[in-house]
Amino acid sequence: MESRATRIGFGIAAALVLAFLWIPILIILAYAFNGSILQTWPVQNLTLHWFREAWHDQEVRSALWLSVKIGLISTAVALVLGTAASFAISRFQFFGRESVSFLLLLPIALPGIITGMALSSFYTFAGIGFSIWTIVIGHATFCVVVVYNNVLARLRRTSPSLIEASMDLGADGWQTFRFVVWPVLSTALVAGGLLAFALSFDEVIVTTFTAGAQTTLPIWILDTIQRGQQLPVVNAVVFFVVVLTVIPVIVSQRLTQDSGLLRRR
């Protein structure tokens, strides 16, 4: 439909925008192998030294461990709450349904700084001291949304008559869940869970308000960049963080691709 010139023009523009998206990421990944302590481009004397340095750094280790713990707990909370809510919203009509779905989306509609501040003043009011749990509560608010959206999308594409059919054939609730609902949902749950973990693992804004003196990995990165010291170690950590968040995204992308099964016709 489009003329040849238009096609080529759009093709070139699209390639340029993609280059704009990717070049900075590739550059920062290359810095992880920089042999010099100075942050100059191009990278010189390639080395793996900084990975070893980062691995043996006690601060990095404890920050990483804290981030992993928070990610796992927030994801678990999000899986339970997000799945329950998406079932209620997709399968039932009830008073206040719209408000509930709006309420669940609020944490991603409002800027993170509002969520962070609100929670931090809530903790102050309630006299709750900062702990790993104050961070988990902050992360769970937006992780729930991710799981909720993923599961909701899957439920919308699945016909509710599958469950009715299973009940008609004499299955009880548990059997229906085990043999009908679970196979349909499992990949959406894994995908939602992975995305929630990725989101929690590199969240900074809400965390700065809910962490107190604790240091998660992104907070360690932010502090170290601002101090301007140990930048080569930061580069190695950054490489690791990028890889660790990219893998779950690719896996979840694979899992949510439509298999064509169980579609509503």
Binding site: G11, I28, T40, A84, M117
Partner: protein, 303 residues
């Protein structure tokens, strides 16, 4: 359904009876499913937001540093009357708008190519190539630009290679504009792509049959139909820029403070939560107005 998983009754007939009972009373299931999430959200999240809003009408005692629970508009009036706050609020909103425009211009050709020109396999690949930067830590992406824009960074290296002088962009408002546009670009590409993909080919054929040249077709058919997608994307680019304080802190200069930076320092360093809360109300109001306009432009159907 999932709540039945917990019943675990050993006798099958009892489980069947329970299933039947629940089937007859759907409201019971709704209550069981929603009790936990709604309680958690309504109490913790909404409660926090309300607490934040209320505290914006309180004051901090200058001597003790404690919050005084007396109702006052003092925070808001000092925000309105102090030119420093006004300048910061204006800068935040202005850059958020500039970022939104830049992202719309950058996102369109890529989204158009993905939606209408790329063969299916290439389209799937492009989709992943847009999605991955979105999920790559945004802190990392800001840091990447901090090193690129630095004096010995990749940008000046490339410019010098072309025989051009250094671009002294590091720690300026221009740097913030570039970095914000970069960081939120995928949020614009995806909804515009979704909007463009939904345009039926027959619309374009009809336009051509009626004598519309490509520019006319673009302006009168494609652009109006893409608009809801652009507005949907702009909700993200605008809102995320309004609430940010990491980008100004990492790539901004001395005159680059955002609302977020002021709020952050009032909460963290000077411990003046009421004033911070009052300032945080500004982006919320701006966003509320923006969302109302977006809703009228049909952006919510495009999300």
């Amino acid at each position: 359904m999932s709540e039945l998983a917990q019943s675990g009754a050993p006798v099958r007939s009892a489980r069947l009876r329970l299933s039947a009972e629940l089937w007859r009373r759907p409201w019971l299931k709704v209550v069981a499913l929603l009790a936990l999430p709604v309680l958690a959200f309504a109490v913790v999240y909404l409660g926090s937001l309300v607490a934040l809003f209320i505290s914006s009408f309180w004051q901090v005692d200058a001597f003790t540093g404690k919050i005084v629970h007396t109702w006052t508009f003092a925070n808001f009036s000092s925000l309105i009357h102090d030119p420093v706050y006004r300048r910061i609020a204006f800068r935040t909103i202005w850059i958020a708008a500039a970022v939104t425009v830049a992202d719309a211009i950058l996102a369109f050709p890529l989204a158009y190519f993905m939606a209408r020109l790329a063969p299916p396999r290439l389209r799937a690949l492009l989709f992943v190539l847009v999605l991955l930067p979105l999920w790559t830590s945004y802190l990392v992406r800001i840091y990447a630009w901090r090193t690129i824009l630095a004096k010995d960074g990749a940008l000046n290296w490339a410019l010098n290679g072309l025989g051009l002088p250094d671009a002294n962009l590091a720690y300026t408002n221009t740097a913030m504009w570039i970095v914000f546009s970069y960081v939120w670009l995928p949020f614009m590409v995806l909804p515009v792509y979704a909007a463009l993909e939904r345009i039926p080919d027959s619309y374009l054929e009809a336009s051509q049959d009626l004598g519309g040249r490509s520019w006319r077709t673009f302006r009168s058919v494609i652009l109006p139909l893409a608009l809801p997608g652009i507005v949907a994307g702009s909700i993200f680019t605008f809102s995320l820029t309004l609430g940010d304080f990491i980008t100004p802190a990492l790539v901004g200069g001395a005159n680059s403070q955002f609302i977020g930076n002021v709020v952050h320092s009032y909460v963290g360093i000077s411990n003046n939560v009421p004033l911070a809360a009052a300032f945080a109300v500004v982006p919320v109001i701006v966003m509320a107005v923006y969302l109302l306009v977006a809703k009228r432009l049909g952006a919510f159907e495009a999300l």
